[in-house]
């Protein structure tokens, strides 16, 4: 998986220093983002999947971009090796559904 951008409303760089170190070098990080500019970047980058909040999910889907609700990553047990499969499943689910649906005759 190629990581395009990581955005968050508030980033405490001291608290999250060890997590930030795990990101691939050169990953774009945005904090407290201007939502319109961020959407411009998303449209330009055309990612295969956007992990985002419920306010943006339907608008992005309507533009043809697959989304995963970020809140599911908060509510689902996804930590450690045991849950890694479930985590992968969370990312795969919206992509699988999109390939499943068809409205042609």
């Amino acid at each position: 998986m190629e990581l395009v951008e990581v955005g968050t409303p508030y980033l405490d760089r001291q608290l999250l220093v060890s997590e930030l170190d795990l990101l691939p070098a050169g990953t774009q990080i945005s904090e407290g983002q201007d939502v319109e500019r961020q959407l411009d970047r998303v449209r330009r980058a055309k990612p295969d999947l956007v992990v985002c909040g419920l306010g943006l999910a339907n608008p992005l889907e309507a533009e043809g971009i697959a989304t995963k609700w970020s809140i599911e990553l908060v509510f689902s047990p996804i930590h450690g090796c045991d849950q890694a499969g479930d985590l992968a499943e969370l990312f795969a689910r919206p992509l699988r559904r999109r390939s499943l649906l068809s409205f042609t005759a």
């Binding site: 407290g32 201007d34 939502v35 306010g55 999910a57 339907n58 608008p59």
Partner: protein, 531 residues
């Protein structure tokens, strides 16, 4: 201000956002911290909107407060105008931003924005709520866009029958339908069709689907129809005062109200009301024999004022229910709700505390609840069937199918959606007859979807079927104890009156300072209360 887990209405800026998002070509710059951007998902999730609402939040953070937040407001306004090129701009602040007193409206007024109409919204977040905010926003927007058209004082009011001289059909505006309102999308279609049958055209529908230029056409109509008073009453009154436009105030929800609406409107514009040949199935369905079992069903009603008042009238007159509770969270229309309740011999419950509503609901022992999505939760907890009649909504209350509340088809929809949650006539009879049979124990009430009787949830435990081994005596809060045979006898009583019998028996026992309620106490209480 008080802390709560849930609320019927949001703060007034959410009402303003409802107006902006309902319309086309309007943009709203909202001075608000990051956390307030949650309002987006009311539209993208509950209404399944495919676009973000047309709002730019200034999203100041705690660390911005030491700096120049006024500069942030101006930057946001400039960026929003440049990006969205709106035909009208709303500027306001959320509850949190109100405290820093940046006066974003005044800032916008001092900016060169290329002549775009700017409406500054002053919505007192700590004393008013969402519907008030929506009504005020619609009023300010219409007033701002029409201020150059106001006729000079002393100009005679235009006749609502002037279409007769102008060689055209009469035309009216439909005011009030908005996003997050209850079934507004479908009501517009139903009422537009109904008016067409009467020979009346619709000039402007607002706010839903209107552009600022459409609002400027409002005075070209012969009259205004105030479809949703929560949103449109202030703007209709202003159009009456300033333009002499008459307002039709009957809300056409239910058969009687739809007839009254047609008569009021046709009378106003000078048309003979057309003959409708059995336009709705509700009157016949209600007279048909299966509906005999609806007679006197106890109904508890809570919602916005428009829908609660309409529901009370339909329930009592058109379905033969007994209304045992009527209330609303719409404080602005509390007087109308109180009057409707008084007609039914009730005292209206005016509150925005959902726990107070749940308490009143439990005390009224209804067999059906008509409410908002919160009453659906409360009714579920109490094991009472429920139909939703009013905002606030759940995503389920925005159905894919055509499902209006107003007019003839609205009456059909109401009959189905209120009657289906109830047990149907013969079904109720059979359950009474076979209540000791395992297939007819409460857990099998398919229409309430309570699942198998093995469940151990609280209402299920109370509804232990008679053939189950009697449980250990159960104690109430004050230490009053139900003996096993008392519980067993109580279980034989039909579920829809059981909680009331339980309460009455406990009151009886308490008055007599009894410690234990057995089957004998139950029957003594019954004999005592039926005296």
């Amino acid at each position: 201000m008080e802390l709560t887990l849930w609320t019927y209405e949001g703060p007034p800026h959410v009402g303003a956002l409802r107006i902006a998002t309902s319309m086309e070509g309007v943009h709203y710059v909202l001075h608000a911290p990051q956390g307030d951007t949650y309002a987006d998902l009311l539209f993208t999730m509950i209404e399944r909107r495919d676009k973000r609402p047309p709002v730019t939040y200034t999203t100041f953070q705690a660390r911005d407060l030491g700096g120049d937040t006024a500069e942030l407001v101006k930057r946001s306004i400039n960026q929003a105008v440049e990006r969205f090129q709106p035909e009208a701009l709303l500027v306001g602040e959320s509850c949190t931003a109100e405290l820093i007193q940046d006066q974003p409206g005044a800032l916008a007024a001092g900016m060169a924005l290329g002549g775009i109409p700017v409406v500054s919204l002053d919505l007192p977040a700590y004393s008013k709520k969402e519907n008030w905010g929506a009504a005020e926003t619609l009023y300010q927007l219409v007033r701002g866009l029409l201020k150059d058209q106001i006729p000079p004082p002393g100009t005679p009011a235009p006749s609502a029958q002037r279409w007769q001289q102008e060689g055209r059909r009469p035309r009216v505006n439909l005011l009030g339908p908005s996003l997050l309102g209850f079934r507004c999308r479908d009501d517009i279609r139903e009422i537009t069709g109904l008016l067409d049958r009467c020979g009346i055209d619709v000039a402007v529908v607002a706010p839903m689907g209107a552009r600022p230029a459409d609002l400027q056409r409002i005075p070209t109509a012969d009259a205004n129809v105030c479809l949703y008073p929560e949103i449109a009453a202030p703007v209709c009154s202003w159009l009456e005062r300033s333009f002499g436009m008459a307002t039709v105030r009957t809300v056409p929800i239910g058969i009687g109200a739809t007839i009254a609406f047609i008569e009021e409107l046709c009378g106003l514009v000078g048309l003979e009301p057309p003959h409708f040949d059995e336009p709705s199935r509700l009157p016949w369905y209600s007279r048909s024999v299966d509906s005999t079992y609806l007679t006197g069903k106890r109904v508890f009603i809570f919602g916005d004022a428009t829908h609660a008042i309409a529901a009370a009238k339909i329930a009592s007159q058109e379905l033969g229910f007994q209304v045992v509770g009527l209330g609303s969270y719409s404080r602005e229309l509390a007087r109308e709700v109180r009057a409707a309740a008084k007609e039914l011999g009730l005292e209206a419950l005016i509150t925005d505390d959902y726990l107070a509503v749940e308490k009143a609901m439990a005390e009224a022992s209804p067999e059906l609840v008509l409410g908002t999505q919160m009453e659906r939760h409360s009714a579920k907890r109490l094991g009472v069937p429920c139909a939703v009649i009013s905002s606030p909504l759940h995503v389920q209350d925005v159905p894919a199918r055509y499902s209006p509340q107003m007019g003839w088809e609205g009456a059909n929809v109401i009959f189905d959606s209120w009657v289906h949650p109830l047990m149907m006539g013969l079904e109720e009879h059979l359950i009474g007859m076979f209540r000791h049979d395992f297939e007819f124990v409460d857990g099998h009430r398919s229409h309430l979807g309570e699942g198998a009787p093995t469940q151990t949830s609280e209402p299920q435990a109370q509804a232990t079927p008679a053939q189950a081994p009697p449980a250990a005596p159960t104690a109430t809060l004050e230490g009053l104890v139900w003996s096993a045979d008392g519980e067993a006898e109580l279980a034989k009583i039909p579920f829809f009156v059981r909680s009331k019998v339980r309460r009455n028996t406990e009151t009886y026992a308490r008055e007599r300072q009894l410690q234990v309620i057995d089957s004998e106490t139950l029957y003594e209480a019954k004999a005592h209360l039926s005296r």
